[in-house]
């Protein structure tokens, strides 16, 4: 449904995308996971026909994004990263406006947005600017869906939204899958990766790896230890000197240590105790998507 081949884009001297290739199947819920500045927004804008790539090609539904941008614009729903509805129009006026400019009506496609819109209906006469963050995103999703697009491009829809609303939002996306809509969602939250069918991990304009969340975790084949001590920062520097260390990163109050080869946890513990660390605990753990991401080359 969506293919990107060696897409590159630079803003002046800053490289935003470097040879990115992706293939997304029809009906897939695909996640672009990566921190700010990874190139997610640039990629979405190129696919959404809003930016021209410097090099490479991309196809949506078999149509090239540069040449067939008019046809593609009719087939996609796009939700930009910033809240992009009219704050001084009410919920209903916003929805009506976007329905009309896409040549349809609320009634015609009410079926598709009903699940989401019922939550907004009590506030339909409230100005969009006065909605909570979660509500705003639901309204934006409604507006992006109102013309029944076959492809939905969502740029960080859950950024700045409370955890409960985030969960609800993802549940809505899951339900939209049953309507056969292909969705490409970008997010900086690693924990949201597990909610996607497949993900691409992005960093510095490059795709590190692609696959289902499960397969990415399974492909992580290095032993992983969670290490805690009273002085986390000194421990981190010490662990990086440890001979078997592959990489070590702070992870909340602990340090996640990936090893070149299996090592007894006690060996790590005694190494730290020798360096006069206190409160040391070492436990083997299963990797998460975040581990896959930060320990990736």
């Amino acid at each position: 449904m969506i293919t990107a081949q060696n897409l590159s884009k630079a803003y002046g001297k800053t490289t935003a995308l470097q040879e990115v290739s992706l293939t997304i199947q029809a009906g897939e819920l695909f996640g672009l996971i990566g921190p700010d500045g990874a190139g997610k927004t640039t990629l979405l804008r190129i696919l959404g026909t809003l930016l021209l790539p410097d090099a490479g090609t991309a196809f949506l539904d078999g149509k090239p994004v540069v040449e067939s941008y008019r046809a593609i614009r009719r087939a996609i729903g796009y939700m930009p990263g910033t809240f992009s509805l009219y704050q001084d129009l009410t919920v209903e006026e916003n929805l009506h406006f976007f329905a009309t400019i896409f040549g349809t009506s609320i009634a015609e496609n009410y079926e598709l947005i009903r699940d989401i819109y019922v939550q907004l209906e009590p506030f339909k006469n409230r100005r969009a600017g006065q909605l909570s963050g979660g509500m705003k995103q639901k309204l934006a999703l409604c507006c992006a869906l109102i013309h029944r697009p076959r492809i939905l491009l969502l740029d960080e829809p859950t950024t700045g939204v409370d955890p409960v609303s985030r969960e609800e939002f993802w549940a809505m996306l899951q339900r939209l899958k049953s309507h056969g809509i292909t969705m490409l969602v970008s997010t900086p939250y690693m924990d949201e990766a597990s909610l996607c069918d497949r993900v691409a991990l992005m960093r510095d304009g490059q795709v590190l790896s692609t696959g289902s969340p499960q397969s990415l975790i399974e492909a992580f084949d290095r032993p992983l230890l969670a290490v805690q001590a009273d002085d986390t920062y000194r421990m981190l520097t010490d662990l990086r000197q440890f001979e078997s260390t592959y990489s070590a990163f702070a992870f909340g109050h602990a340090v996640h240590l990936s090893l070149k080869a299996p090592v007894w946890p006690e060996l790590v513990q005694s190494y730290l105790l020798n360096l006069k660390h206190t409160g040391v605990s070492v436990t083997p753990i299963a990797p998460s998507i975040e581990d896959v991401f930060i320990h990736a080359e």
Partner: protein, 364 residues
């Protein structure tokens, strides 16, 4: 395509109507400006401090002094009789103009001296004009035959504005400034606001043609600008007795043409800028200042240095002010204003062509 356009216009009207503060400013400003210019900022000067240093002290000199006393433009400072007193009064600021009558005044050839406080050159020029007129009147009444023609050389007749009323100048001027403000500045801000909010991204992705986006955004501002034109016209004619000698149809058509020019400038600015602040500053610097300073509204173009006179030709406001004056004061028809109208039309086409070239169907 009609329905999306109507919905777009309605949306834009909501933006304008719901932003109460801006709306009050936009509707109230023309009235405030006209009243301000009409009552407070007047080029006419009344009761200026005036003194006579009469060194002749004869019948003719007393008659001339009486004539000045009777003038509403001057208030006699009776205490100022000597050169020293005059200088002191000028320094204090209570004296704006002094007339020095030399000994032996009364027999031609006559030579009189007018002394003015030229710290404010406009006032000084106006006052010395008033004074010269009074002196000429005095001699026109006294002299006979040859003497009169020798003395009274010029008798300027102020066509169209015999009393040199400033209202005739500022009504067209205020109208021009307001139309520029509403049409150019407000539209450039309204369009860049969509870029800033990110809604432009969604509009671009929609199947709406870019032309429709622009037309939809612009129409409510055209209506607002025309409403302002009406308010200014009504205040000018009803409150300040500005004559309206030409055709109303032609006047409204010209206003619409100028609104078009201003809108095309606003659109051009919005295609080149991406934030509301930049659009506003740009409009103020590049549009409003020249409109106020170089259009002949406040400073006469004829008295500008040559380079500025050349530049003033590129200011649309200059041509619109000429058109307005031709219609309102001279009662001129299309035959009188077709050249200026053609210039405005040409400018509009040029700016629109430039905007179309730089309007992007994509971001950045």
């Amino acid at each position: 395509m009609i329905k999306p356009l109507l919905v777009f216009i309605r949306k834009e009207a909501f933006h304008i109507l719901r932003d109460r503060r801006t709306l009050i400013i936009l509707l109230g400003m023309p009235a405030v400006l006209v009243l301000l210019f009409g009552f407070a900022i007047s080029n006419e000067i009344r009761e200026a401090g005036f003194a006579v240093l009469d060194q002749a002290r004869n019948e003719p000199s007393r008659q001339l002094t009486d004539r000045f006393r009777a003038s509403p433009y001057f208030t006699m400072q009776e205490g100022v009789q000597t050169q020293a007193a005059m200088e002191a009064a000028f320094r204090k600021g209570s004296l704006k103009l002094a007339l020095v009558i030399p000994p032996g005044y009364g027999e031609p050839p006559v030579s009189l001296q007018l002394v003015t406080d030229a710290t404010d050159p406009n006032t000084a020029t106006t006052l010395s004009n008033y004074a010269s007129a009074i002196i000429r009147q005095e001699w026109a009444g006294r002299a006979t035959g040859q003497q009169a023609s020798a003395l009274v050389e010029v008798k300027p007749l102020m066509l169209y504005n015999r009393e040199l009323k400033s209202v005739f100048l500022f009504v067209p001027g205020v109208m021009t400034v307001i139309l520029m403000l509403v049409s150019a500045m407000m539209t450039s801000i309204a369009i860049t606001r969509e870029k800033e909010l990110g809604t432009m991204e969604v509009l671009l992705v929609s199947p709406l043609p870019p032309a429709l986006i622009i037309v939809g955004k612009v129409i409510p501002y055209i209506l607002l600008a025309l409403a302002n034109t009406g308010v200014i016209l009504w205040l000018g004619t009803a409150v300040f007795d500005m004559p309206m000698r030409g055709s109303y149809l032609l006047l409204w058509a010209s206003a619409l043409l100028f609104v078009g020019t201003a809108l095309s400038l606003g659109i051009l600015i919005s295609t080149r800028t991406s934030s509301q602040q930049v659009a506003m500053l740009f409009s103020l610097m590049v549009l409003m200042l020249p409109t106020i300073l170089l259009s002949g509204f406040i400073f006469p173009i004829a008295s500008m240095p040559l380079p500025l006179q050349v530049i003033s030709n590129a200011i649309p406001a200059k041509w619109f002010i000429i058109i307005l004056k031709d219609i309102m004061l001279k009662g001129g028809g299309l035959s009188l204003i077709w050249q200026e109208s053609l210039i405005l039309l040409g400018m509009t086409t040029f700016f629109i062509a430039l905007s179309v070239r730089s309007f992007k169907t994509r971001l950045a």
